[in-house]
Symmetry: C2
Subunit: 332 residues, 2 copies
């Protein structure tokens, strides 16, 4: 899968295959983001929900339920739940990170204010829990509330672990599970649970979502030092924001005293000047940590693929395999 | 019930009667506010949870379940859920209102930062949903997720309706339900539901919580213009924060052109100077809106009492009746 075949991107083929279900999810989202009493809520939500996100997470739920042969109506509720949790998280993230842009547009906290972002995020969290109770399935409620707790815990951990050179790969993995993988794995797992599939298949769906999410985030963090215009990433953003991501964590682990002093100055103290980003990249290359990070991403991706291939063959299964290949294609 | 008999305050007698259950709630709260990965979470939570709140809302759940004859373990989970939702709401409120003090101590957003308050609040919301799924009772999940949505909606409504003279008593009631009554009524209703009581009793518990919460908030808003040192309220806080509460809404409805211009200047434009608070209070007295507001509080309190008295007699029932009397005693 290469970047110059846009018509055959796996998430576009998934969207085509799940067209009717996705239309149901979009209708449900529009319906539930309404508020009889507070028109500010749908304004803020629409700004984000209709900003052209790929609906990747709800598609994971829809595809997982469908490839398990689910014929009921509740995969649509669960997919909308997952998108609401994701949207609420983005609203709160942009407040916490004081972000100005999201998906190429000004953030809600900039267009309205932090208050609106906090409170509308809370509303969407509550709405997401209302939506999942409609399924009447306690196990999916447990999976999704566990995911919500892991997400919040990961965000707090990231906030306190960032800018601290003692952060190791285990902490990084925990943060990545919170930021990305917990919702991916919940999205796929609930698809299998709602379809009533055997535990081994539910576990395979969880493993796929977990590993896909981790690979996805590692690739994202890698491209922050390795990107080009083609990847749409702005090289050095994480460095300037003093985020300790995997390539740097690996370089800090191998640093001599002088290099450690450099990382301490630019990351812990935030004292950055001209040439520091270039020097940081030189250190990553010296210790070959970009390549080591790439190998980690490929290993997680292989794990995701193997989990998905353990399920019975179907078109949707193969599209999820392709989606996983696509995630790491940017660094292959 | 008068203020100078502290040993016989109804919430203290409730706490004594529910001593063992409350110990269970406190143990569960301490257990669930822990975080294996992010020690910031229990730090922030403990600051608020252990700051000596009265545990009023969890006591409503415990008392409701017990007076319904409930013998199982889950009223403790539901009481802890209610306290977590309340705590999460306080954390986010203090960010939104940029508050400096809560329960006589510096707020979490001041001691740590807004980020911590937003994210730890999210964590407690997620934890509260985990707790309630443990009851395995879909109906209580629906009641509590509906309450969470009403709370968030009420907060957004308050934010947009504040400083707008078009705000009428219906909007005020909606805001008050969101701020206070929705969690009170959910707290009492789930007590009856978990005990498996007939619909009429569940409805009476809901009505008690709803009316108690509304009376509670109206009294609070009234004391902001009518308070003294004895009530612990700081007269004029709402005025200075340009909050449109019931006494002012009633005065605006009766205002002539000149009075309307005054309210527009001090509330809508926020242009306040020396003597404005005194003039505002003079206008409230001119139109007798403090007395009208007091009558509304008494009417809601009477509704709460009548709902509670429709339930079979028991010591706990009578303590909840006393609690209701106590809430309005400050303005009786």
């Amino acid at each position: 899968m290469s970047l110059d075949q846009p018509a055959s991107k796996p998430h576009e083929r998934l969207a085509a295959a799940l067209q009717d279900d996705l239309a149901g999810v979009n209708a449900l989202i529009r319906d539930r983001m309404a508020s009889r009493h507070a028109p500010r809520i749908p304004e803020v939500t629409a700004h984000l929900v209709e900003a052209g996100g790929k609906r990747l997470r709800p598609m994971l739920t829809l595809a997982s339920a469908r490839l398990c042969g689910y014929e009921g109506p509740y995969h649509v509720h669960l997919a909308a739940t997952v998108e609401f949790i994701h949207t609420a998280t983005l609203l709160h993230d942009d407040v916490v990170d004081e972000s100005q842009k999201r998906r190429g547009r000004p953030t809600a906290n900039l267009l309205w204010d932090n208050k609106s972002s906090v409170l509308v995020g809370d509303y969407l969290f509550a709405r997401s829990f209302q939506l999942m109770t409609e399924t009447g399935n306690i196990r999916v409620l447990r999976i999704l509330s566990d995911a919500a707790a892991t997400i919040a815990e990961g965000e707090v951990l990231q906030m306190t672990a960032a800018q601290d050179l003692a952060t190791d790969e285990a902490v990084y993995l925990q943060v990545v599970r919170g930021k990305t993988a917990a919702l991916f794995s919940a999205a796929t797992e609930v698809g299998g649970v709602i379809a009533g599939r055997p535990e081994a298949e539910v576990k395979a769906l969880f493993d796929y979502g977990d590993a896909l999410g981790i690979a996805f985030q590692i690739v994202d963090d890698l491209l922050d030092y390795w990107g080009s215009d083609a990847t749409g990433k702005n090289v050095g953003d994480d460095f300037r924001e003093r985020k300790l991501t995997l390539p740097v964590i690996k370089a800090v682990a191998k640093a001599d005293a002088e290099e450690r002093a450099f990382w301490s100055r630019v990351i812990e103290k935030g004292d950055q000047g001209e040439g520091d980003l270039d020097h940081a990249i030189a250190l990553l290359n010296k210790h070959d940590t970009l390549e080591a990070t790439r190998q980690d991403a490929l290993a997680w991706s292989a794990k995701a693929k193997s989990a998905m291939l353990s399920l019975p063959q179907s078109d949707l299964r193969d599209m999820l395999v392709d989606l996983n290949d696509y995630v790491v294609a940017r660094v292959s």
